[in-house]
């Protein structure tokens, strides 16, 4: 297991280098760079010759060097853990990420809780009561969760709470759980439900199909024949085995959630990673885009590794092979 983990980690290094390179060149060839936008915002088509101003701003930002030199410098800085400085705020890009991360982590965890709390039990119940009314209703809900755009669900929830004055959603301070639990929940519960429901719908369907497959296995029939109680058969024998592919889906969901809930952060004015990267892209704040993409990509790569390792741990057959 240890050697496997080490080998996979080493393989991930060129992957991350490739991502860093792609991000560097992609952000440097985007039309309308930061300086152009800045000049345009200051004086759109004022007719002044802005050559000197452009040169001064580029010099101040350290982007007056050739692209090859900047690329080499960028890679060296990444190796040293320096992800650059935001053009916009002049703060280290990593600190921008750190500021946004708590919001994204909280939102993602809450979404995950909602997703798992609804999808796994519903998936199991649906499988156990296959083709019953309960099954149809739950499957319908799952299809709704997959089909309805999650931003629409989020918007509807927001409007519902505001229009019927159900509670005050703190949209201007975005308090975190450890800062003000009640106000934080009042805000985050809406995107958590909307996002969690959507993410959970897929997991629910997978859980159901896996459970159906496992429930038809010989060893389950044997368990029933032995006279084991339903709870023991379902929980100990069926669910545990059905969860193996579900685990992969959950892992990918976690990676997706933590890599930035752009839509919900945007919709609920939450200053998380997704919202910040969106602003950075709009503003052509290249170092922030590069840093965020690199961190997120690295995270996703290692979540995948963790899922694979977990997979092996849960299913000894895989570990042995």
């Amino acid at each position: 297991m240890g050697r496997y983990a080490l080998r996979r980690t080493l393989v991930n290094i060129p992957v991350i280098w490739l991502i860093a390179t792609l991000v560097f060149f992609a952000t440097n060839v985007l039309p309308g760079d930061f300086v152009a936008r800045r000049i345009a915002q200051q004086n759109p088509a004022g007719g002044e010759d802005t050559t000197a101003q452009v040169a001064q701003i580029k010099k101040d930002l350290g982007i007056d060097k050739p692209i090859a030199e900047r690329y080499t410098r960028y890679l060296w800085d990444v190796v040293r853990g320096d992800l650059g400085e935001s053009y916009r705020s002049r703060q280290p890009a990593i600190s921008e990420f750190k500021r946004g991360a708590p919001y994204t982590i909280q939102l993602s965890l809450m979404m995950l809780v909602v997703a798992l709390a609804t999808s796994v039990p519903i998936g199991i119940i649906s499988a156990l009561r296959q083709d019953s009314l309960v099954d149809y209703v739950l499957r319908l809900l799952a299809i709704l969760g997959v089909a309805a755009p999650n931003f629409w669900i989020g918007t509807m929830l927001l409007l519902l709470v505001v229009r019927y004055e159900l509670w005050t959603i703190d949209l201007i301070n975005s308090p975190l759980l450890w800062e003000d639990p009640l106000r934080s929940l009042q805000l985050f519960i809406l995107p958590a439900v909307a996002g969690g429901f959507a993410s959970g719908a897929g997991i629910m369907r997978l859980t159901r199909s896996q459970m159906l497959e496992v429930l038809r296995q010989d060893y389950i029939r044997t368990a029933w024949a032995k006279g084991l109680r339903e709870r023991v058969v379902v929980v100990r024998h069926a669910t545990k085995n059905a969860m193996i592919p579900v685990l992969t889906a959950i892992g990918l969901t976690v990676a997706g959630l933590l890599s930035g809930n752009v839509v919900f952060e945007y919709l609920f004015n939450i200053p998380g990673v997704g919202n910040r990267i969106l602003t950075a892209i709009t503003e052509r704040d290249v170092p922030v885009v590069q840093a965020f993409v690199l961190i997120i990509a690295t995270f996703v790569v290692f979540v995948n590794l963790a899922v694979d390792l977990l997979y092996g741990w849960v299913d000894p057959r895989i570990r042995l092979s």
């Binding site: 936008r37 200051q42 088509a45 007719g47 703060q91 005050t168 602003t279």
Partner: protein, 602 residues
């Protein structure tokens, strides 16, 4: 029919100007900050703006709010734009910075009312112009800087103001580096010398008589800081921090984050009016629904819906609880600028055809859902100096009977040899296209109105467009034009702008090079005319001449309009398309006794 913009505001904008009058639009580049918006109480104005603002010997009127405010409360608002270029007022041109400056710093003098064109004392309490080339400023007594190091709340001195002017005139950093980002260096070039005969007096000698120097001192970015703070922070001004903003204005900046979360606290030693305990600015709402929700839950006190259906629905549902103000955006939208010194745009038939084929009302309708006002060469936001709408619609390109303009445009295009030009490129700035998806609309309109299929759109960054303007490449052998936001209107008076753009003696005019007989002579006269009433007459004449010459190099289209809703408990100061943050910081107030205040979160 109204005679100027301010009257129009009193009458909620006339039908023709406010074409369609009801549809949505985003604020676009117009950096309209909700905090700076007033309510709709514009009844104080008499519609006769700009009385004697620059007349020699004028004293400073006493600043006075229009209603009796109550002290207390923290105003909360969202910024529509949270990008900052530098915390050095003398090197900034970003509206959010002008907002910070307006709240925290005093200018030597400031606009106390844009509506009435009234200047008032700021850092300097009084001023006089003993002769046309001398301006004497008398400093306000007992005026103190905010208590932040290294200034530590000391009293102001004449040398502070002297340093402010000399630094901008030189355009040089403390380390001796010449910095092109001292944007107003050119305007300060008129200053011959600045002296401080005593600690309360600054005397400025001008190289030539200028009625506009006081306007320069009153511009949005002219906040005065202490020399010791500038020396300490100059090299770090781009690393935005609240400690760097040290002024003498009504508010102290206590918290700043570059995503737009700012806190201001009342400066108790401020010598003028001030009601609010503070102002809290929150980052721009990324989603319109969230902004609306925050407004409806009274977490922010004002809101400008971008969608007209939403606006109408809110107007109806919250009737009696909210008031509304309408405002022009700061950036006029122009149908392009062109080089008239060579083919093809030196041909009056061709450029005239384009000028008349722009159906300004249709553009307003399609780009902004009707929320806009047609603009002559002087935008309606500077209406006191421009033509009345009644007169504007008598000029080609602005006829109410659009068909007449279009029929003439077609004839002129044919007569000028337009079809032989081949493809005509219309450059659209990328950020403009992003905001309005204008290219398809404009190209379809031009091709239809000129009976051709020659027009094609090209999306370009502003830097490319600016570069082409400077290099005389809109025209000058190229069949191309552009359409987008023009530069921000900073001053309620257009005189300086007209002089720099349309006098053939200026460098800027080289990019247009449209010969207009009599224009140089008229601009030379207006540039030294000390009577503002006479200047208004002259600038109107300039506009007439420009319109007859198809814009004289710049083809104006319109100004966008924004509607801002505020709860009744919030009493705003005057709203204007210029930076009004200084007025808001002094005169905005909150009335806890108003029934709508109930339910406002602490």
């Amino acid at each position: 029919m109204r005679s100027n913009y301010w009257e129009a505001r009193q009458r909620k904008l006339s039908r023709r100007r406010f074409v369609g009058g009801a549809a949505g639009a985003s604020a676009g580049l117009a950096a309209f900050l909700a905090v700076g918006c007033g309510d709709d109480d514009d009844n104080g104005g008499d519609g006769t703006p700009a009385k004697g603002s620059a007349t020699p010997g004028t004293g400073s009127p006493t600043a006075a709010p229009t209603a009796q405010g109550k002290k207390g409360g923290v105003l909360r608002a969202s910024s529509s734009n949270a990008t900052y270029d530098t915390f050095d007022p003398s090197r900034s041109r970003f509206t959010p910075v002008a907002t910070i400056i307006g709240r925290t710093m005093q200018r030597a003098i400031h606009w106390d009312s844009f509506k009435e064109g009234r200047l008032a004392g700021g850092f300097a309490e009084k001023w006089e112009q003993p002769d046309p080339q001398t301006v004497v400023l008398k400093l306000r007594k007992n005026n103190f800087f905010h208590n932040k190091p290294p200034v530590n709340g000391r009293q102001t001195k004449a040398s502070d103001l002297q340093f402010h002017i000399e630094r901008q005139k030189a355009g040089v950093r403390q380390d001796g580096t010449e910095d092109p980002n001292f944007y107003r260096k050119g305007e300060y070039g008129i200053v011959d010398s600045v002296t401080s005969p005593d600690d309360e007096t600054v005397q400025i000698k001008l190289k030539q008589p200028s009625p506009l120097f006081l306007n320069l001192l009153a511009q949005s970015y002219e906040g005065i800081g202490a020399p010791e703070a500038i020396k300490e922070f100059e090299k770090d001004y781009a690393n935005f921090h609240e400690k760097m903003i040290i002024g003498t204005g009504p508010m102290i900046l206590t918290e700043f984050s570059s995503e737009g979360r700012l806190k201001f606290q009342r400066f108790d030693k401020f010598t003028g009016t001030g009601y609010l305990d503070g102002i809290q600015e929150v980052p721009l709402f990324t989603d319109a629904q969230a902004a609306q929700a925050a407004f409806e839950q009274k977490q922010i006190d004002s809101h400008a819906p971008s969608n007209v259906q939403v606006l109408n629905e809110m107007r109806e549902r919250l009737k009696g609880k909210i008031s509304e103000s309408t405002n022009f955006s700061v950036n006029p939208i122009i149908a392009g600028s062109y080089f008239g010194g060579a083919e093809p745009w030196n041909n009056p038939n061709l450029i005239g055809a384009y000028f008349r084929a722009i159906d300004r009302r249709q553009v307003i309708q399609q780009l902004h859902g009707g929320r806009g006002a047609i603009s002559g060469s002087i935008p309606p936001s500077q209406g006191a100096f421009g033509l009345t709408e009644k007169e504007l619609i008598t000029f080609p390109g602005y006829f109410q009977e659009v068909d007449k303009d279009i029929a003439e445009a077609k004839k002129m295009w044919e007569a000028g040899g337009g079809p032989a030009l081949g493809e005509v490129t219309l450059d659209i700035p990328d950020i403009f296209e992003g905001a309005y998806q204008a290219s398809a609309i404009l190209v379809a309109m031009l091709n239809k109105n000129l009976g051709t299929s020659q027009f094609k759109a090209k999306i370009e960054p502003y830097s490319t467009i600016t570069s082409k303007i400077v290099q005389q490449k809109y025209g000058g052998g190229n069949a191309n034009l552009w359409f987008g936001w023009d530069t921000e209107v900073l001053d309620p008076e257009p005189t300086a702008f007209l002089m720099s753009n349309y006098s053939s003696t200026t460098t800027l005019n080289k990019q247009f090079s449209v010969k207009i007989p009599g224009m140089d002579e008229l601009l030379a006269k207006v540039g030294v005319e000390l009577s503002i009433d006479k200047r208004k007459e002259m600038t109107r004449e300039v506009e007439r001449m420009l319109l007859k010459s198809y814009g004289g190099g710049r083809i104006y289209s319109h100004l966008q309009i924004t509607n801002t809703l505020v709860w009744n408990y919030y009493h705003g100061s005057e709203s204007a398309p210029f930076s009004t943050a200084h007025l808001g910081a002094m005169y905005n107030w909150i009335d806890p006794a108003d029934p709508t205040y109930q339910g406002r979160p602490a």
